[in-house]
């Protein structure tokens, strides 16, 4: 309520500041903003004079990709003490995964204000670098409109649009923690079969969600095919009926996922995180959503983005969820056939 009133007062002050003939309101507006921005800026800088990297969008995939490419650059420049600003605790955990120690987490409203501060004062002058080609909260960008034109994909939008580099910019895989006995113990205690477990990940933020019954029925079919099933769950999410809850920190994901052996996921930021894992990765793309001139699969494909070359990527048609389920099961069987006898996954040697 107070925030809403404050927002309206600010909007009115801004309108008066711009429209009034004299500069009294403009001066007052800047005076007030300078107080607010000083606090935000000092927090963002975290006491360091070094470059402040801003992740202005609260998306797991966006933060992962931006930092993965940033690490490719920082590795060359040997500046690993940079400050990274993100929105929320989940994005801060992604930043920590990449080994950044100066991480500052903001709320969405605060990040919007930081973007306004940079837009008004100049990002360069404030020693800030925005890790997004077209921050939605800046409203000044036009880069996102070029999506899919000339085959420009999600990764290109970062490598070209943010860093001004091309395919030569390496995406660094973060340092996931190694396998330990707790992983095997988790599998044992939940009766999950190492190498014969499918992790399903229905949760999405940007793209459309598949109906819940799809995941329930898929879990049942996987069970009939001899797999144990668990669901990747966020803090406030429930597992798909008939599956085991799996909620692990990003750092331990590789150990758990490769020990399981398979993942079936709607395309979400999680897919960027597991893209480098050595396992069966089936990724489902929503049809009929357009990102610039083409669809979501053209833009977000893990294989096209060169985050991996072994993801099985499926786009269903219309509401053909049953056909999709058949395709997923066939793809899974096909992957098993192709990988028969192969010790996949770094942790395969630990299989019981």
């Amino acid at each position: 309520m107070i925030a809403s009133v404050k927002g309206r007062v600010f909007a009115l002050a801004k309108s008066l500041a711009v429209r009034a003939r004299n500069d009294v309101f403009l001066h007052a507006y800047f005076k007030f903003k300078s107080l607010e921005w000083t606090d935000l800026y000092l927090r963002a800088a975290a006491g360091s004079e070094r470059m402040i990297y801003i992740c202005p969008y609260k998306g797991t995939g966006d933060v992962y990709l931006a930092l993965s490419l940033l690490c490719g650059i920082l590795k060359e420049r040997r500046d690993e003490t940079a400050t990274v600003c993100v929105i929320g605790a989940a994005c801060a955990r992604i930043a920590a995964l990449f080994g950044f120690s100066n991480i500052v987490s903001f709320e969405q409203k605060e990040m919007d204000d930081i973007m306004l501060m940079g837009t008004v004062c100049g990002f360069g002058r404030l020693n800030m670098f925005v890790l997004h080609a077209d921050p939605p909260n800046s409203k000044m960008g036009i880069s996102d409109r070029m999506r899919n034109y000339n085959g420009l994909n999600y990764r290109d939008m970062y490598s070209y649009g943010v860093f001004g580099m091309g395919p030569e910019l390496e995406a660094v895989v973060p340092g996931f923690r190694p396998f330990d006995e707790s992983v095997a113990e988790y599998f044992r205690s939940n009766r999950l079969k190492p190498g014969r477990t499918v992790i399903v990940a229905p949760s999405v933020k940007t793209l459309g969600r598949l109906p819940e019954w799809f995941w329930i029925e898929l879990a049942a079919r996987l069970g009939q095919a001899g797999y144990s099933v668990c669901t990747n769950c966020g803090d406030d999410e429930d597992p798909v009926a008939g599956s085991v809850r799996l909620s692990v920190p990003y750092g331990m994901m590789k150990a758990y996922y490769e020990y399981a052996g398979h993942v079936i996921s709607s395309r979400s930021g999680l897919c960027d995180v597991f893209s480098s894992f050595d396992m069966c990765k089936i990724v489902i793309y929503q049809p009929n959503v357009f990102w610039g001139s083409s669809g979501a699969m053209e833009y977000f494909s893990l294989n096209r983005m060169r985050l991996c070359d072994d993801a099985i990527e499926i786009r269903y048609q219309g509401i053909e969820f049953l056909e999709l389920m058949d395709t997923v099961m066939l793809s899974l069987a096909d992957w098993e056939r192709r990988n028969q006898g192969r010790q996949h996954g770094t942790y395969a040697r630990y299989y019981v």
């Binding site: 403009l26 903003k33 837009t119 020693n127 800046s138 409109r145 034109y149 000339n150 649009g161 001139s293």
Partner: protein, 177 residues
Amino acid sequence: MKRNLLDSVWDSYRECSSGKKAYRKILKGIKQGDRPTIVLFPHDRSDLNYYGLLYIDEYLVRTLSRNALIVTSSEGVYRSAELFTDKIYGKILLEEKEMLSFLMLYPLLEPGYDVVVVSLERPEGRNAHRLLGAKGLTMEQIVAIGVFFIIPFRRVWTRPSYDGRDPCVLNLLKEGW
């Protein structure tokens, strides 16, 4: 650090204060009740301006707008706009400094008019110049798709004809030859 921020804030304040004068100049060029699309050309870069003028007509069709008010600091744009479109509401020539000040104020504006800025790096926060040449993206594509948001995109093949000798106009038109 704090000093750096406060210096930046008050520099921006001074710029915005000058920007208000340019804003009033622009508003003066619009009769009450009219709602033209305001198209700003802040740079004196011929390829950018050429495609900016070339796609105005298509933009007006897609946005159901009647006409455009051209605001520029480029003599070439000011003198050749009519060669590209007959849907010109008016033209305002600003000094480059005025234009830059206005663009500093721009993030604070909610003008109530449709405003298009024909630029790849202004206002602050726009970085489309980094995409120029990426996977073969051309200036024409970035202006049409990025600046004017003409999606789906189809090239405009018509080229303005001109038999005068104004060097400013000729310099701009050379992009289409």
